[in-house]
Symmetry: C2
Subunit: 420 residues, 2 copies
């Protein structure tokens, strides 16, 4: 018997028939004696409809009200799944974020989970009741208002619940059957990875892989919660109930590095097209100027990713280029305009025709030359690198968006990721 | 300056454009210096969609999960209206049932409001913030679960909020411009009543008039809260802000009998087609048998309305006929089947081809002969009366559904309700 958290995303619960399929996955676990908490997203399309209504109501809207509206999608799914489970003879009840409570900070729309008291739920699981929990949402206790965690937040909800109820396993059911070396739509030879380390997954998630939300991986890493990614589109009776000893037979397990025996130098290629590049022309080349640029952006909760400062030719003026999320570009330009006097720049240029391509692998730590190989391969294809950032386990380059697919295919072949 | 509660039903908030119209109604009040709490229903169609999903999930469903799903409709509207109000420069926030909290009993799906602490909301109204409150829902505090009040429950929410915040006026905006002597679709000459007593409105509501939910009227009566019914489809700038001295210029005011100067004998004709008739054949004609029939039905929360027991011919066996809501008929027959042995009947017959037509008027108390006139008029049209119930201020007859409209027109003419 294991304590299992199962998370199902929007396409897995897109309609009542799909919810019935989810219930059969849950039943398989219950029948095997597992104690189950299920975390659900809104039915696919629902959140988009709700967001569209909010935008129609006002282009500038109170994030607290946005959250009150958008959080309803998960409440519907949770109630419906509880009903279907009951109709199959399974004891179940739905839980909304405020009922557990899933306590978050007050950053409405992008709230972070601070605490999830798990004893009450765990006690009910022990009694054989399935807890059906709304993903994506929580409650900010000071004002007692509903918060949401941002797109993909249900993954984080699932991991947080798994940690709270001290689950043995956390299964993330999605519309793909695991984590791949890269996007199979670009590279048909892309291969499913049986295991990925938290660190690598974290880079993949933050670098554009849509499989898991970055914060869910961070949370799993901090609490050493083993997470498995697998497909909800496999027939429920084709899967084995979750058991630690057979857990690695399908899907991809996200776990500690030391659990992965054969470590490759590079394990995956990620890419993101939702980047935008901003260049400030002729800023002063002296200490403090970077703070004057990035301080106001941080205050506006805009994440700046890659930063390149050109060498100054005269020691007085230089250019600064950085990237932000494309969706933040408009706000970024506004912030820069407001702070123009303090920053002191001549002009701003921006473009969203850029892509970030990254190679990731914990093996890089002990292997030199990965970057050099990468730059050479790209150069051979005539791909110009606009900016570079590196970490211990990844190298990212910013390139012209038109070359993104070519770059991914080139690098996937370079590191032989299609081979077993 | 007045404290005003404004309630808007589903058709008044059917889409974002209609919600914007509602916001303009609210703005008119705010601009006039009124302190406003708004109670909203789900966008028209939303609740039906949610209910359809629940039914698709399972024909027999946990009422607590039904409530969790269905209550989301009002949460969406409340959030959207708060956003639109803010975009018009009006301070506003949404409140869900559990946040206020609107405390109810645990009769999920048909919960009754037990308490609404109003001080917190009133204090915010005093500061000029508009409270946008979800109608139709509450929270059952023992299990901390969301409850709903049953169809039309938002009216009751509005009155309960008005009582809680000690509002001066409670305006129910709907798709009709007041309470009519009868349904204008059946009798084009039907006239809007400027004032109706609580007692009359209560009878009208429980007898099929869809204008206000019965319990909202009960609650208003108990707390002497004056309620006005008016149309949200009038252009917002065509209405005067709510002020006690000009409040009676449009719509219909529901108030104490003693506020109504010219009282008619009969003030309205109501009809209901959602009745079903059940006849138990050959039950024992002795004390206790009625309790054995109606006890199990009461336990199953089935409301029995009219009851007719035939005279026994032999002093041993007789037939019993009663009516229930058509939507309860199936369950009623099940309950009777289960209790067949205890009740001891020969057979059950049922039909939903019946209608209840009622004449209502507080003036009846001091006027004899209303019933006799009514029965004579119906007989002259060849309409057979299947059952009769009376109260101090109403007489209801059960007739063949095919004659419902004819009966309504006949009685409307009989009591000269079309005349000023």
């Amino acid at each position: 018997m294991s304590f299992v958290v199962m998370k199902f995303g929007g396409t897995s619960v897109a309609n009542v028939e799909r919810i019935r399929n989810v219930a059969r996955h849950v039943k398989r676990e219950v029948d095997a004696g597992n104690k189950v908490a299920v975390v659900v997203s809104a039915m696919a399309g629902t959140t988009n409809q709700l967001v569209a209504w909010v935008r129609e109501a006002s282009s500038l809207h109170d994030a607290r009200e946005y959250d009150a509206v958008v959080a309803t999608g998960e409440q519907v799914t949770a109630g419906l799944l509880a009903i279907v489970l009951q109709s199959m003879g399974i004891q179940a009840r739905s839980w909304q974020g405020w009922q557990i409570p899933i306590i978050t900070d007050d950053a409405h729309g992008v709230a972070r989970i601070k605490d999830v008291p798990g004893d009450k739920i765990r006690a009910r699981l022990e009694q054989g009741e399935v807890a059906v929990i709304t993903g994506f949402q929580g409650i900010e206790p000071t004002r007692n208002r509903v918060t949401t965690l941002g797109r993909g937040g249900s993954d984080t909800s699932a991991v947080a619940v798994a940690v709270a109820v001290k689950a043995d396993l956390c299964d993330i059911y999605t519309d793909v059957d695991g984590v791949y070396t890269t996007d199979p739509r670009i590279v048909p030879k892309a291969r499913r990875l049986p295991k990925v380390s938290y660190e690598e997954m974290l880079e993949m998630a933050s670098l554009g892989s849509k499989v898991l939300q970055t914060r869910s991986v961070e949370l799993a890493m901090v609490h050493r919660m083993r997470v498995r990614v697998l497909s909800s589109f496999v027939a429920p009776d084709q899967l084995k109930p979750a058991r630690p000893d057979t857990w690695n037979e399908i899907g991809t397990i996200i776990c500690s590095e030391d659990e992965i025996v054969e470590q490759r130098v590079v394990s995956g290629i990620a890419y993101a097209k939702d980047e935008a590049k901003v260049t400030l022309l002729q800023i002063e080349d002296k200490p403090g100027v970077a703070a004057r640029i990035f301080g106001p952006l941080a205050e506006a909760s805009i994440n700046v990713d890659m930063i390149v400062q050109n060498l100054s030719s005269d020691g007085k003026r230089t250019d600064m280029t950085f990237t932000v999320q494309e969706s933040d570009l408009e706000r970024t330009l506004e912030v820069l305009k407001t702070a123009r006097k303090e920053i002191g720049y001549f002009d701003v240029k921006s473009s969203s025709d850029v892509a970030k391509v990254s190679v990731i692998g914990v093996g890089m730590r002990s292997h030199a030359g990965v970057a050099a190989q990468m730059f050479k391969a790209l150069a051979e294809k005539g791909i110009n690198i606009l900016a570079i950032t590196t970490s211990e386990i990844k190298i990212s380059v910013l390139i012209d968006a038109a070359y993104a697919e070519l770059a991914v295919r080139t690098l996937h072949a370079l590191y032989e990721l299609g081979k077993d």
